[in-house]
């Protein structure tokens, strides 16, 4: 592969020849080689540390079995968060003092306190409130206890949705405000009501701005589902992190268990990042947000090219 024209043997020549040869290798390939090297080094390290691969093979199906609960919690959480973010954002830009006050309090509190504290508040503190209330007012109907005594997974989903919803309120608000004032005015001038204007004109345009960061939030939430395990989930409905802890603690195989679960999260994230990137390309293609002056450009079509 080396250039034979160079016959000199000094160090400078050798360096030149090397860099010439290196320049022919695509940059991406070199990066991939570095990745492979990192994995080889890590593999050697684990082999030296007596990494128990057969144990991992035994346990993988048990841990992966928790994947559906991880996904339930993440999907439920993001659905709740999106609903809250739409309401929160409309409240944040509303002229109504009640809507503005409630949404302001919501965002401030749930962004101002740690997620794990919110989880424990919902899981542990809420039942206490209920029991104390029952003590003070004995006539309360029985079904009420099902409202404040929640399954760990339900409490976790609620906390994730409330917490992420507060952050996403700001994303949604920015998205709505990115739609130019002229659009709202054009809708007003046609005689649309506020609801029609939002539903038909403003929100569809805002979603183009909102969808990509919402995908990011979902991926982040996917990993934060691990926190639900701190609520002491029962064995049957344990998500993947909880399961890895159970398996790892029992056999003192924490290294293997944690690496396994880290790998699962990583793979999940990679899959969703791939889809998110596709989605992002689709919503941003062929679109100019506001400027009416840029009107004589050729139409932009989706390129369909995947940027690595």
């Amino acid at each position: 592969m080396s250039a034979r024209r160079h016959v000199g043997t000094t160090a400078g020549d050798r360096y030149d020849r090397l860099s010439l040869a290196s320049a022919r290798v695509p940059f991406g390939l070199k990066v991939a080689a570095v990745w492979v090297l990192i994995f080889i080094v890590l593999g050697l390290f684990f082999a030296v540390a007596q990494f128990d691969v057969p144990w991992m093979r035994d346990q993988v199906s048990y841990i992966v079995g928790g994947l559906r609960y991880t996904l339930y919690i993440a999907v439920g959480g993001i659905a709740l968060a999106v609903a809250l973010a739409v309401l929160g954002a409309l409240g944040r830009i509303s002229q109504n003092p009640i809507a503005r006050g409630i949404s302001g309090f919501y965002v401030s509190f749930f962004r101002g306190t740690p997620l794990i504290v919110q989880m424990f508040l919902i899981y542990l503190a809420l039942p206490q409130v209920g029991i104390n209330l029952e003590g003070s007012y004995p006539g309360m109907p029985d079904w009420l206890s099902s409202v404040y005594v929640l399954e760990p997974a339900v409490a976790g989903t609620l906390a994730l949705g409330l917490n992420y919803g507060a952050y996403m309120t700001e994303i949604f608000r920015a998205g709505i405000q990115s739609v130019s004032g002229g659009q709202g005015e054009a809708a007003d001038a046609l005689g649309m009501t506020y609801g029609q204007k939002m539903r038909k004109i403003v929100l569809p345009q805002a979603f183009r701005v909102i969808i990509p960061p919402t995908g990011n939030e979902f991926i982040a939430m996917l990993k934060d589902t691990a926190m639900v395990s701190f609520l002491g989930v029962t064995a049957a409905s344990a998500e993947i992190f909880r399961r890895s802890q159970q398996a790892g603690n029992a056999d003192f195989k924490n290294l293997e268990a944690l690496l396994l679960v880290a790998g699962i999260y990583w793979a999940l994230t990679a899959v969703f990042t791939f889809f998110q990137r596709r989605l992002e390309e689709r919503v941003s293609a062929g679109y100019v947000r506001t400027s009416p002056l840029r009107t004589r450009e050729a139409p932009i079509r989706p390129s369909g090219r995947e940027g690595a």
């Binding site: 001038a189 046609l190 009501t193 029609q196 009416p292 009107t295 450009e297 139409p299």
Partner: protein, 254 residues
Amino acid sequence: MTSTEAVVRVEGLHKRFGPLEVLKGVDLTLHPGEVVVIFGRSGSGKSTLLRCINFLEEPTVGTIEVDGIRLAGGGHRTKAKREQIRQLRIRAGMVSQDFNLFPHLTALQNVCEGPLTVLGKSGADSAVIGRELLEVVGLPEKSDQYPIQLSGGQQQRVAIARALAMNPRIMLFDEPTSALDPELIGEVLAVIRRLATEIGMTMLVVTHEMGFAREVASRMVFCHEGEIIEQGSPAEVIGDPQRVETRRFLDAVL
């Protein structure tokens, strides 16, 4: 309270932005079929006057009447007032300087949006109206294009069709050609001219196009520092302006 023979009646209109008084008592009446051109220096209040008529700006003081719907400016926008404003806007089509087509909808969808959403017509009926009006503005072949795929002149013609789709009693044009490249102005003015000559649409046009005004206007109104200080036929106002301000403005633009 319905006034006979007036499509628009503006009475004692004042508009203040903070300490700045942009309109200082404007009265203006438009009869059916009239084409009134408002002109004047920038900052003279002509656009604000137009925007007060369909309550995109709330008049500080004064009364606006459009097709029998009479509303006083100022005060809180109660639910009842918001509904009246909406009814008024349905009767007054507005075309703005910046077109403001809905970028996520095709040309046809833009035109159909009003009948479909606001008037509650069926999709089929709206499409018939939409295609007919794209024909009127000379863009039947562009119905499936998105706004970004259209030139500025074409976008403005679609915006005119969108306003016409509500079957308004009056069309308000707020400097409809001032954001356009010179070679695209003609096609938009031609559409507006056709509305006057073929449909007899009542129109209120803010514009600097004096040639167009001379040809199409039934009356010209000169706005100066928040007041209408001169009005009359194009021949009177352009040919023999009575006020020195009008004369000075015309000397500058002609």
